[in-house]
Symmetry: C2
Subunit: 706 residues, 2 copies
């Protein structure tokens, strides 16, 4: 459910080519097109850098490249002869001449011109949630307590001492909803540290079991279930000079959400987007760092369904009393310019598309560079917005999904993109001209030798007129006179978009594997899914499953009309919200599907976490009918005649095992056959090479039952 | 694994007959032949009684019956008008004129001749492990503490106060191995109470989860795993007069087993069979009740494999310094006469068969009545042993499994039996003549209208020459020219015998259900299984699975030679030890089976409880090779080409869920496909009507995969 992509960081293994994908191909790096490693601008300089094997390369905007640094030279710069890197580390460029990196719990800085290495702060091995601050200081947590390490001091400072599973300091609060990704926030000067304190003593313990110990071990987590007692969050401000901590005096009920912590440019204020538990009333508040007192509520945002702040204020580089604010208030995620009095100065972008990301703001405030869906919901392009006249200019021309990095002087972008026909391109684009100045890489298709199914992106119309984007993969060696079984792959929940005009249409190679097995593989992004605007998403409000399934049925009905589809052999597969969708589609439309596989599915929203669930469903108490309609427990008898395999990681701390245990129990009570498979060591997803087993299980299930 | 039969006490439902068994027929009472309810001797009288509807009937040895008491009359005898029984309670006959029973936490005594009801002791609703003693006193436990209630006293006495999950009083110790079924032991006079104290603070907690709570709840148990720290047991003696408790001073290591607690006839001594943790050295000790001191070790029994005491001394009624002792010391379970000096007076029974039960000892010590396997291992007959000349006389003539109750004067038995051809007979037999004097019931076959498969009992030879008893059920409408798939049903562990010459050959109706589905259904009791003597059982010592599987393969090979068997479609199914056997047969003989279903299987003996496991396997430390060979974790790759469904009750506190989670994990690691199904609310067995789902799951699995 979280917007964390499956990071398949696996050792590289060479694979033989047979024209036929293996499941290891589907899990390993086999289907990743080549890319220039660590391509980025060289700090504030004019050139860019990337790593090529054991060499750091430098390139100019015309594409001329030269060797900048070898790994051997870098390694020789370590004072301690025993320290040696096996390959280039993950580098952060401080300026054109300097980059820093972490190695073995130490922060190093390397200066290119004189070839010197400066050993910076070290931090304890057990440190987690590391946050590097200005002035060579670092914050981290150990066992739920917050620490900092300041350059020149012998040992770390422990900011809190009563941290525990019940009282958590310095970690991402509110279960990482509301755009929260961390819990330690250095001020601009590094003289203060803001940090979260989350009291979850009142939150129910959810029991998980580690079966791999000699005797299975109880490993509980704190899990706030919809409608139950929630955690209570506060924000501490630690003053590095005085060594004192105060807590912001945030009014309101204890269970509200303190989101998007942002330091003011002068470090005197901390901005917090305070959201009520019902998630329909947000205040952007400024608090005084010295006293913790509320200085001002700049403005509020309310909506009768929900508001979802995911970005703090982004201050202009020069006009420091103005900031940019993301808001969906006009129905689409757009940018607004405010001043620190809370006055709206102007709406910067507008249209029936959304801004997905601000990439850079011009130091001179002439423009900003952002990414949007303006061209198409299944594409992302980079734009320059003129801050003076409001005109926007598209910088990326090739269709597809673009991701750009902006040079400090706003003259060039490093752009990378792929589309259905283009595996991966990295290029330099001149912002003023909107044209490529150099192509850095045009990756070959890693699956060029594979016999893949023909892929099409298309749209169908939802009942309410919205375009629903779909991806169709025909079986390999497609014969229009034959009839093929169908496997629908679905997610369907908020924050995720499956159909995109990128390499393989954003499909994972497993979907092509199934096409090779002779399946029509189909995916549709229904209402509720990401980046289509507020109305499209909020169609699911208080009734998760209903609008989503209706849209999926638009796809199903289209499929049924295709001459090459065997309508008696339709299957569906999905994970997490997609598991919920898989089962909702089967159980709320009996007679359509023959087989399905649901991984880590939400069965009843009352078992899912407060922050996510109550946004879309309110609470079980305030929306009993909605919960009842959405609950799959009420439909077990509709499973008759359909084969359903439920898969669940036994360590799942997101969709906890209780969901599927409750469903299986209902099936037992009603003498309904269902299949189930546990992954004993896996949390919400099955990752690493074990995923080969998972895909084997899924494909075998369809082979046997569809 | 425990010798607790599945008690299917379910509401009676009428079933339509179709000639085809339903799964509800297999689970409910449909296949139970009629029987006279509560048939027993009328206390110490000459007649017997039984319940017929709302009437208590009385019969004489010639079979003449008369109404003795109506439920209406019994109900009128309650002083409290609001107390009323819906049917006859479970009665204990004190003498010919008096019976007692429990109703709503109260003990009542009813006198026939004057029709009076005496309200005896009441005990708290939360009382568990009730043990009624002489002189109208009762012992029980509440929350792991021991209590007694004495007639005439206002409230119960609490004997212990520090009871907890860590320190358990008055409950069956040592996980109910060694014949232990309770933890409270009244002396003969009722003036003392012996009770177990089990300190299990050092025993690992095994985490179980109750998924049916609003938020899944942690419900740990104490579970001592093979080789780990075990509990420590002591025996308390409470003096009802002085209200003081002493503990027996039992020498030896804390982890030994204190088994078979028995009061001496004069209540001055308590006998305890003390067994070392290695279970190969037992001492029968007498302790002084007044001081707790050891008075004498009467004798010891040792064996290089194991000894398994399951009966305390059984004192003669008159010669109170002599007792009967069960022992397998000559290779078969037989009876020995000892005196209280510990001197062996004589061996009472001998032969290559075993005594399964002593039914009665003549008050005049002229004879004893017992049950044995002398006729055949698949039959049980009742014998009279002349204690003077040692001659034994068979009292039951019809073949089959007999169970008898002896009249106080040793003149008659009430005998009940069934065999392959006889659903159920209840009769009176004259002991002197060895002949039936009256037939009380000859039950009709409740499945007479069903089309059942032909059943045969037979023997095959094990490699070591032992006869292996088998049960073969041919498919219904058997055609010798056809080829049929096979489902082997197996248990195979100690203490259980599946093949018996009783109604349905001791097969549960589900096996006939599968015969109706067209399967040859076969069962073989391999070495290790019950009632065949020590050598037969101890073939499994330190190598569970090896001899058992070899024997099962004798059956498999015989089946393969039968013209009507399709050797490519052989399946196997078993539960608990039978689940272990199912998987051992598949994994240690790849290429034989096509499909199997293993319920609650032991996967690795290191995860099973100390008391049972170490008897047969020693510890993981002292028998590493044996554990390794037996562990199914080592054979996952042999599963290739076989379909295996593992089923596990998620509340299983006998074979804990870790077993199958560990196996599934190994399968995932090795990319081996396996199927799994959890029963969320069920412990070691799936009971009640949910069993319909279980049998549905199992039969469907074979239908789909065999």
């Amino acid at each position: 459910m979280k917007r964390i992509l499956i990071a398949l960081i696996l050792v590289c293994v060479t694979f033989p080519l047979f024209g036929q994908l293996t499941l290891r191909d589907c899990v390993g790096p086999r289907a990743f097109p080549a890319r220039l490693s660590q391509l980025s601008w060289q700090g504030d300089g004019e050139n860019y850098v990337y790593v090529k094997g054991s060499t750091l390369m430098q390139g100019d905007v015309k594409g001329n490249t030269t060797e900048l640094l070898t790994l051997g030279k870098l390694n020789k710069a370590f004072e301690d002869e025993e320290v040696s890197l096996g390959r280039f580390p993950s580098m952060t460029w401080e300026d054109e001449n300097t980059f820093s990196f972490f190695h073995q719990n130490t922060h190093y800085t390397y200066t290119l011109d004189d070839g010197t290495m400066t050993e910076g702060l070290s931090y304890p091995e057990e440190a987690e949630n590391l946050d590097i601050g200005p002035n060579n200081r670092v914050a981290f947590t150990i066992s739920h307590n917050a620490y900092i390490q300041v350059a020149g001091e012998d040992s770390e400072r422990q900011l809190t001492t009563d941290g525990s599973l019940d009282l958590v300091y310095g970690e991402a609060a509110h279960r990482s909803e509301f755009g929260i990704v961390k819990g330690l926030f250095w001020s601009n000067s590094g003289n203060h540290l803001a940090f979260y304190r989350q009291d979850q003593s009142m939150v129910t313990e959810y029991p998980l079991i580690d079966y791999m110990e000699r005797t299975a071990k109880y490993t509980p987590i704190k899990y706030p279930m919809a409608g139950a007692a929630s955690h209570e969050v506060a924000i501490g401000i630690y003053d590095v000079e005085t060594e004192k901590t105060i807590f912001l005096k945030v009014d309101g009920p204890a269970e509200q959400y303190l989101t998007n912590i942002t330091w003011s440019p002068d470090d005197k204020l901390v901005y917090v987007a305070v959201l009520n538990r019902d998630q329909n009333d947000m205040s952007l508040n400024a608090y005084d760092v010295a006293t913790g007192e509320l200085v001002k509520t700049l403005f509020t945002e309310k909506h009768d369904k929900y508001v979802e702040p995911e970005h703090g204020p982004i201050f202009l580089p020069k006009t420091k009393d103005q900031f940019i604010w993301y808001s969906e208030r006009d129905g689409y995620n757009h940018l607004y310019l405010y001043n620190t009095e809370g006055k709206l100065l102007k709406q910067l972008t507008e249209g029936d598309w959304i801004v997905t990301d601000i990439l850079a703001i011009d130091p001179d405030e002439a423009c900003l560079i952002y990414t949007s869906t303006e061209v198409s919901p299944v594409e992302r392009h980079t734009y320059r917005l003129d801050l003076n006249n409001g005109k926007r200019k598209r910088l990326t021309q090739a269709k597809g999904m673009h991701a750009s990095q902006v040079r400090g002087d706003m003259a060039y972008i490093l752009d990378a993109y792929s589309n259905l026909e283009t595996p991966y391109v990295q290029q330099v684009v001149n912002i003023k001209k909107g044209k490529q100045t150099a192509s850095l890489l045009e990756a070959d298709d890693p699956l060029a030798d594979e016999n893949l199914g023909e892929m099409t992106l298309m749209t169908l119309k939802a009942e309410d007129g919205h375009d629903l984007h779909c991806r169709l993969i025909k079986p390999v060696d497609f014969d229009p006179n034959k009839k093929y079984p169908v496997m629908i792959y679905v997610y369907g929940g908020p924050h995720v978009q499956l159909v995109q005009d990128r390499y393989l249409g954003a499909a994972r190679p497993f979907l092509q594997y199934m096409a090779q097995k002779g399946y029509v593989v189909f995916t549709l992004d229904n209402r509720g899914s990401a980046d289509r605007g507020r109305t499209f998403e909020q169609a699911i409000f208080r009734q998760c499953g209903t609008a989503e399934v209706a849209d999926q049925m638009v796809g199903v009905n289209w499929l049924k009309k295709q001459s090459y589809v065997d309508a008696d052999r339709m299957g569906v597969y999905g994970w997490s919200y997609g598991g919920f969708m898989t089962m909702s589609m089967m159980l709320r439309n009996p007679g359509v599907f023959k087989a399905g596989v649901a991984g880590g599915p939400v069965i009843d929203w009352k078992y899912y976490e407060i922050m996510y669930t109550e946004r879309y469903m309110d609470t079980p108490e305030t929306n009993p009918d909605g919960y009842k309609t959405a609950s799959l427990l009420g439909y077990v008898n509709n499973l008759e005649g359909q084969k359903l395999l439920i898969i669940h990681g036994q360590q799942d701390n997101v969709v906890v095992p209780q969901h599927t245990q409750a469903f299986v129990r209902k099936c037992v009570e009603n003498n309904v056959l269902v299949d189930y498979f546990p992954y004993p060591t896996h949390p919400h997803n099955v990752r690493g090479w074990d995923r080969v087993h998972l895909l084997n299980k899924i494909s075998s299930y369809f082979e046997e039952n569809l």
